[in-house]
């Protein structure tokens, strides 16, 4: 256990140091690339990590997924850790839906944390699924995993009509820019809300800096009412939004879960108490910002 902690701390420190340093191309080596219908998918080896990218240049850390080669269980990105905050809200989920598989890091991790759960992942790009299997240990031949190669919004609409319902829905669909426009709108979130069970939890990975931040937050608030954001202090990268059909629990009620999961999540380099501190219900966006709809979602222009 002790060596694990030391390893965790060391790896985390190394990772932080690397991300603080300007990302130079010098150490990056493209080990595989493939053009898909949607983008160029690059697998890059750098700083002891495998990363999947949709652009060749790594400006402002545009990697979609990364794992450490010598410690694949430890999270590279803060957003992975923030995403584990969802476990504080969940009570043994049976049906999990992940929109936007990427490398499959979160699918794998939720699969480990909830071994009884059935995890359905939706990914539009078959090349991304291929890379996930090859480099990120994503294995959907397991009985409780399934992968659908299709547009996330189309999947959600179809699943609604087929009367599927989920305990936990994770929204993580990204292209090389940001979240696709048709997956940021009020109508989409309403469909996702309807697809959640009555006590279902919905979590979304979004950026915390962009003009879009206010519009996006206003859209979530419009559909779900109060929301929690998980964002490590002074980290201006990703924030994770947690919402629910039912009113969300008060923050202090989450502390018990944070304590219970401390040991389990340590394996991934997650400090659950720091994560607990990073949860906020503060309204830090412009509540007057226009809500994004199918009629009005100039998302990429606002960014």
């Amino acid at each position: 256990m002790k060596s694990l902690i030391v390893k965790t701390i060391l790896t985390t420190l190394t990772a932080s140091a690397l991300f603080l340093a300007a990302p130079e191309q010098a150490n990056a080596k493209i080990i595989e690339q493939e053009r898909s219908l949607y983008q160029n998918v690059y697998m890059v080896e750098e700083y002891g990590m495998h990363c999947m990218r949709f652009r060749k240049k790594n400006k402002n850390d545009l990697s979609q997924s990364c794992v450490f080669l010598d410690a694949p269980e430890i999270f590279v990105f803060d957003y992975y850790k923030q995403a584990m905050g969802a476990t504080f809200f969940l009570d043994d989920p049976k049906e999990i839906l992940i929109i936007g598989l990427g490398g499959g890091v979160l699918a794998n991790t939720f699969g480990e944390v909830y071994p009884d759960a059935h995890i359905t992942s939706v990914e539009i790009d078959p090349v991304v699924v291929k890379m996930a299997k090859k480099y990120f240990d994503y294995d959907d031949s397991k009985a409780n995993f399934e992968t659908h190669v299709r547009d996330g919004r189309v999947f959600v609409k179809r699943a609604l009509k087929d009367d599927k319902r989920y305990d936990f829905i994770l929204l993580d669909a990204f292209n090389s820019d940001y979240i696709p426009e048709h997956m940021m709108t009020k109508e989409y979130l309403e469909e996702v809300k309807a697809l959640a069970k009555d006590d279902g939890i919905i979590m979304a990975n979004t950026f915390s800096t962009s003009d879009l931040f206010h519009h996006e937050s206003a859209t979530y608030a419009e559909v779900f009412g109060p929301l929690y954001q998980i964002n490590f202090k002074n980290k201006k990268t990703n924030r994770v939004i947690v919402v629910s059909k039912k009113p969300l629990p008060e923050k202090r009620q989450l502390l018990q879960k944070a304590n219970e999961l401390k040991g389990e999540l340590l394996i991934y380099g997650v400090d659950t108490l720091a994560l607990f501190d990073a949860i906020s219900d503060e309204v830090n966006w412009d509540t007057e910002a226009e809500v994004l709809t199918d009629q009005y979602s100039p998302a990429n222009l606002l960014k």
């Binding site: 219908l37 949607y38 539009i124 299709r150 547009d151 919004r153 189309v154 609409k157 179809r158 009509k161 696709p180 426009e181 048709h182 709108t185 109508e187 989409y188 709809t293 199918d294 009629q295 009005y296 979602s297 100039p298 222009l301 606002l302």
Partner: protein, 207 residues
């Protein structure tokens, strides 16, 4: 005369691309935003325009005048209204039939865009007919007309994708397009002008 026809042709080219670009936004909630969906939309528009060119050319044989030209614009405007009112219902209906990104989006774009873009396609050959003075200069006239209307298309593509979607809702842009088309139609209808060509006896229908 020339100014009227050229303005009409420019705006027609502009609005064709405005509607085509909005097509992507209309269909993406149902069929995604992939290259398949764009392929469907562009196919339907190209097909419809080709048919429209045929009809427009045919129509221009029989006593061409700006009144009829105006009617084409008014019909185009009217055909955009059901598109605006019904695109959600149509997409929903097609989605129930199939959510295949290829054939679903092809079916939906056919139902939604075929008729408006056939009518809009009739404008270009009819404009040529109204502008042509002599057989000798007909190629130059047609070339200039296509220059103007395709320039309009470039403008419509840029304006819609860069600015209009940032300023307005999709349906408002569509209603705006219908309004512009209808206004052009009214102008052409109520201020009729004789064709420039001397080869046609055009005074019959002109007051």
């Amino acid at each position: 005369m020339q100014i009227l026809i050229l303005t009409c042709a420019f705006l027609c080219g502009f609005l064709i691309m405005t509607i085509e670009l909005l097509g992507g936004k209309i269909l993406s909630p149902y069929f995604g935003g992939s290259v398949y969906v764009w392929g469907s939309i562009i196919t339907v528009f190209m097909l419809a325009l080709s048919v429209g060119y045929l009809f427009g050319g045919k129509l221009s044989l029989n006593n061409p005048n700006t009144r009829k030209y105006g009617i084409i614009f008014m019909l185009a405007a009217l055909s955009v209204v059901p598109l605006t009112l019904g695109h959600e219902a149509v997409s929903e209906w097609v989605f129930d039939v199939t959510d295949d990104p290829r054939y679903g989006s092809l079916l939906a774009s056919t139902v939604l865009f075929l008729i408006p873009s056939i009518i809009l396609g009739m404008v270009a050959p009819y404009s040529v007919r109204l502008l042509v003075r002599t057989a000798h200069s007909s190629g130059q006239t047609a070339g200039f007309l296509y220059f103007v209307s395709t320039l309009g298309s470039a403008g419509g593509t840029l304006a819609t994708s860069f600015y209009l979607v940032l300023w307005f809702k999709i349906d408002h842009i569509l209603y705006g397009s219908a309004l512009i088309l209808f206004t052009l139609g009214l102008i052409a209808f109520f201020f009729p002008q004789p064709p420039l060509s001397a080869t046609v006896n055009s005074n019959e229908n002109i007051e």
